[in-house]
Symmetry: C2
Subunit: 330 residues, 2 copies
């Protein structure tokens, strides 16, 4: 069913049907009704792609996420999707996987779809490779990176001071008398490395030497990964009194490991995660965590993208400040 089909049956021209559909003025009420009735009768809906072709506007945006199953990323995507849907945009949400080449490939897919704006979810997108892909394929549309930044005229970034935040977490543990601390990375993303740096800075500031820096990496970003690495830490350094994990999911594995090993949390071992995720509320004891304000960050990202879609200035760089949520594990 096209406007031509409707036009023929109504005995008018296609342009008249188009005008009715788009509520343009200057149509006799009688004609309008006749056409509208037909439109209703056939449940006609315009082909937005065809419309987009002539309007030069697809009303589509892309949201790239390394893995949509990661809770905090999909939560952020939700916020952005809702905002954009409200404004008539359609979101293409895709899982790119961790490999850089794939991520570039997805950027190409978005270009092919002629999206009008892009959200890149997570610091994993703040790489040189992506920067090149954006220059090559998406230099004309606003791009907003959540928790990352690339210096390109059409790219904006909303950052989070997770490094300072993790530093505050270390301060907190130390203030509770925990002398020897360790840091666990789930994966070496730019954001996680920043957190690790924040940890190192804080520990060194408290008078530790470089050799005292206990830095670990989990085998996988999961509960099990956190469990395993914690068992290892506690075996290699039984005197560790506090562990900070790059994300909650891994931290809750640590809590369970401590439990199984008969180590009391928080008395013998303080544990802190990052994300203020639901996982931290489920485990026992409840997890102290760094709230990195992902929802607020997402709202800001959505706003910046919206402004970009409206043609306002791009290349903005904002910073959100994280806060510790103290619960039972510290």
């Amino acid at each position: 069913m096209t406007i031509y089909d409707i036009a023929r049956e109504a005995g008018v021209a296609a342009s008249t049907v188009s005008r009715v559909i788009n509520n343009k003025p200057g149509i006799k009420a009688e004609t309008r009704k006749k056409v509208q009735d037909l439109l209703d009768k056939y449940n006609y809906t315009p082909d937005v792609a065809a419309r987009g072709l002539v309007m030069q506007s697809t009303k589509m945006v892309g949201i790239l996420i390394v893995d949509i199953r990661v809770t905090h990323h999909i939560n952020s995507a939700f916020v952005i999707e809702q905002e954009l849907t409200k404004r008539g945009y359609c979101s293409i949400i895709m899982s790119t996987g961790p490999e850089g080449e794939n991520k570039s490939e997805y950027i190409r897919i978005l270009e092919q779809r002629r999206v009008e704006g892009v959200i890149l979810m997570g610091s994993m997108f703040a790489t040189e490779q992506i920067k090149e892909a954006i220059q090559r394929h998406l230099s004309k549309v606003p791009v907003v990176i959540v928790n990352g930044y690339l210096d390109l005229p059409n790219v904006s970034g909303v950052l989070i001071d997770e490094d300072a935040g993790v530093g505050k977490c270390a301060d907190l543990l130390i203030s509770k008398g925990k002398k020897k601390l360790a840091f666990v990375l789930d994966q070496p993303s730019p954001a996680n490395l920043r957190k690790q740096q924040g940890f190192c800075d804080a520990v060194l500031r408290h008078g530790a030497s470089r050799e005292d820096l206990l830095l670990y990496e989990a085998e996988e970003s999961s509960v099990q990964g956190g469990y395993d690495v914690t068992v290892r830490i506690l075996r290699e350094h039984p005197d560790v009194q506090g562990i900070i994990y790059s994300i909650d999911l891994v931290a809750v594995g640590g809590i369970r490991a401590a439990h199984d090993l008969g180590v009391n949390v928080p008395e013998q071992l303080g544990i802190i995660g990052v994300d203020s995720s639901i996982y931290g509320e489920i485990c026992m004891p409840k997890l102290t965590t760094l709230n990195n304000k992902l929802e607020e960050v997402s709202e800001i990202a959505a706003t910046i993208l919206r402004e970009g879609l409206e043609g306002k200035v791009q290349n903005r760089k904002l910073m959100m400040f994280s806060e510790i949520i103290e619960r039972e594990s510290s």
Copy 2:
């Protein structure tokens, strides 16, 4: 940059460029190279919408989810998205919210986008209202409902025997000597009501009378909702020995409530959830849960959709069988 721009610079016709792009045979190697070089030089990528217009194929599918933040739904969507992306399709993943009218509206949006297939995630889409919307707007494309079914020629459904599964959960608790059982619903979706029915059937089968049926509903589908309703159950019926929850997320709230009330799990109170979600592995004790095979179900749904996209038979109805994963809470 369009094929005409390339064609002009290469001194050939647009159709030749098109042939090069699509790897059609019958082009002199020399010409092909000349065009390809230009294509590369300008990083040309075809506009898939324009192509779709003439090919009558958008290569897009829609995945409708009530709320993409719900872990098991987005996990399912992930499986389907991966499969479809591999085949060159682009997924429009949208959160519809729970209201029926909105859901119909989203179906209209998908029609406007001329998607070639649709996944409806969750039993919440198996309603008369959606059925009408599908008839009106999506009667020409394959639709697959995950954990639900509607009797329409273009609709398929993959069901899960969660009712029988929950019945087996009740059997398990009873076999452990738990006489008095309660069931908690997080929301009255068709699937959840089926679970409740399975619970009732099982309990009655074991000789209980209708008055013994303890059916509760959580205020909200969350940890807190599970916590609150469990406190209420334990207050109103201190002799309850087992509770089955419609989903894990709510069950872990129950585990915490029991802990705070000084009720031992599983000795005094057996607790079972549904979903085999990560939540159940995080809480303490670990949650016994009904594995409703969401991943397998999603894979099947993806397969059916793929076959539908290839023009194969639709209106299929399959059933997956759930299995109890026994952990520590039962």
